[in-house]
Amino acid sequence: MKFKGTEKYVATDDLMMAVNAAVTLERPLLIKGEPGTGKTMLAIEVARALQRPLFQWHVKSTSKAQQGLYEYDAVSRLRDSQLGDGRVHDISNYILRGPLWDAFESENPAVLLIDEVDKADIEFPNDLLRELDRMEFYVYETRKLVKARHRPAIIITSNNEKELPDAFLRRCFFHYIKFPDKETMERIVDVHFPDLKRSLLREALEVFFDIREVPGLKKKPSTSELLDWLKLLMAEDISPETLHGQDQSKIIPPLAGALLKNEQDVHLFERLAFMSRRTGNRG
């Protein structure tokens, strides 16, 4: 079965190709891109489209590669031993399965999301090389080899906070989700708000792309923020004219809080809008 996007997710041709190649060859797919371009959503939608169970592993700065496989809960065992619990004699009672293990042992071929792999320590991806390559690992405590029944489709996302090691990259397919152009953006908005007024959408997109062009913004608004904003605009029943006329009457577009998430950005934007209005009046 090929992935072609879903009714809630617009996939570009190159993205579809990368997903299908990774699924067919059973290799991990590394996804990078600006925050809010739907990297995490991709795994969820791929699982839905291919009707596979989804396992998620959200990586944090304190995550260890081992936690994705399993954890040996020595602390509980120690406590149990002090309290004289019978479970203590079987070490396997204290082996906690990680998402990788779950995905490997899944009945049906699964989709595994390893989210924000760059948040973890610099050595983290290196510690997963063999597991991702051979799709098996060894549980030392119980002397058991866990081998994938079906190689899961693994989707790994990164926000580019750290560079990933070469050896890791070589094992993955790679795709960079670039920021959607206006056309794609209209399609994306379309699947989320099918009953949005054309004129409102056009004005809103214009304002949105204008804001993205403002130099020096600490955080450019992304697709997910645009969708939030549109939701608000629709809820408040803002007319396209209000959006269009905002240059003169108001400094900041209505409900801009959904787009600009940072006080400095709001200030910067106000200042720029103020200046452009002044030069506009003069000229």
Binding site: D13, D14, M17, A18, N20, A21, A22, T24, L25, R27, L29, L30, K32, K60, S61, T62, V75, L78, R79, Q82, I122, E161, K162, E163, D166, L169, R170, R171, C172, F173, F174, H175, Y176, K178, P215, G216
Partner: protein, 392 residues
């Protein structure tokens, strides 16, 4: 034929490995693509390129390699012209005109010049006296001696054909950082570490556990602490352009290493010397500038300050208002440096020019004075000395 493509990619600076190439072969064998060139472009890119900063290099190589194949009817034509042209020319030209060709250095020479012009034209997208077809000053084109033949190169159907994805070069902006042998630099930068325990408590604190277990009448009382992280913050200012061009490589390495090593890293560019504004994107240096005051106010004083620059300039650029070569600076560069140093006490200047030459430039001496002698060469050994100074 793809082996060729693979090696072309490597020549073009895309670090594709054999493993990735085999992966592409496997994908082709498993019929992942439908067979179109666009599909192949997407597939090969997903297999062979692992960083968006290499997308542009890939696009360029792909474009060059598959240029003819992209539109096969055109490419058939493209295969013919020279022979065909020659024949046409011979048929159509009068003796007089043939002499004219001779005077231009013969047909070979002419074709070569023509090709060069075409290349230039592709690059510049705007005419000029050399553009084929303007007649007059150019020996080529409609008003030239061989209107039919030479024009083929001109139409080239370049304009009619839809622009291919790889020809759009959309990823040019991402192709900025190069990582070349930066490992050593990283190791040197590691000295600049300040560990702090913050975040989730997930490490066993052995001492505290023993102490509180004893207090707890021997019953185990586990104590955890957060793991240690590098919490150092760095402000990096790069001199760019002019005399710094010789040191681009080492600066890129430095930048690349710093970016991976420090979580809190802010960088800015300046030209020759620090004045009232700096910028972050060198291509937009004229439109997007940050007032230096804003930098001073935004980043607290516990940031470590690193300048990277050769400090080679006219002394006026440092000492006098209005001394800048690029614009009128109301206050002298020295004033700005002092302001920076007043806020950031831990500061160094890294100079990529060889330390032995520093004595010959007055400006370097001035900068050293301003920095309180905290100037170090941008070598491993210099970096280490600098880092020691920063953590002192």
């Amino acid at each position: 034929m793809l082996t060729d493509f693979f090696f072309k990619l490597r020549e073009g600076g895309v670090p594709a490995s054999v493993k990735e190439y085999l992966m592409l072969m496997e994908a082709l064998a498993k019929h992942v693509t439908g067979g179109g060139l666009d599909d192949f472009y997407y597939l090969s890119r997903a297999c062979l390129v692992k960083d968006e900063s290499n997308y542009d290099k890939f696009d360029r190589v792909f474009g060059a390699y598959f240029k003819g194949i992209a539109a096969s009817p055109d490419s058939l034509l493209a295969g013919i012209p020279e022979e065909w042209l020659r024949k046409q020319a011979e048929l159509m030209l009068s003796e007089e005109e043939k002499k004219l060709i001779e005077s231009l250095g013969g047909w070979e020479k002419l074709m070569e010049t023509l090709r060069k012009r075409l290349e230039e034209q592709k690059g510049r997208h705007e005419g000029g006296s050399k553009w084929i077809g303007t007649g007059g000053t150019s020996p080529f084109g409609a008003n030239g001696y061989n209107p039919e033949g030479v024009r083929i190169g001109q139409d080239g159907s370049r304009n009619r054909r839809a622009v291919k994805v790889w020809d759009k070069r959309e990823y040019r902006n991402l192709d900025d950082s190069v990582e070349l042998g930066t490992r050593n630099i990283k190791v040197a930068l590691k000295r600049l570490r300040k560990f702090a325990r913050e975040g989730a408590a997930d490490e066993l604190d052995l001492d505290d556990t023993i102490r509180s277990t004893a207090k707890n009448a021997g019953y185990l009382d586990i104590k955890m602490v957060p793991e240690r992280h590098n919490a150092v913050k760095v402000l990096l200012f790069f001199d760019i352009g002019g005399s710094m061009d010789d040191y681009i490589r080492v600066c890129e390495e430095m930048f690349s290493a710093a970016r991976t090593e420090f979580k809190h890293l802010e960088y800015f560019y300046f030209h020759n010397f620090l004045y009232e504004s700096v910028w972050r994107d060198n291509r937009r240096r004229n439109s997007e500038r940050f007032p230096t005051f804003d930098v001073l106010h935004k980043y607290p004083h516990d940031y470590k300050l690193i300048f990277v620059g050769d400090a080679t300039m006219s002394p006026y650029e440092i000492g006098y208002p209005g001394g800048s070569v690029e614009h009128h600076n109301e206050e002298a560069g020295a004033t700005w440096i002092k302001r920076m140093l007043d806020v950031y006490h831990r500061a160094i200047w890294l100079n990529p020019s060889p330390e032995g030459r520093w004595g010959y430039y007055e400006s370097i001496g001035m900068v050293r004075n301003l920095m309180g002698d905290r100037m170090y060469p941008l070598t491993l050994e210099g970096l280490e000395r600098g880092m020691k100074e920063l953590v002192r």
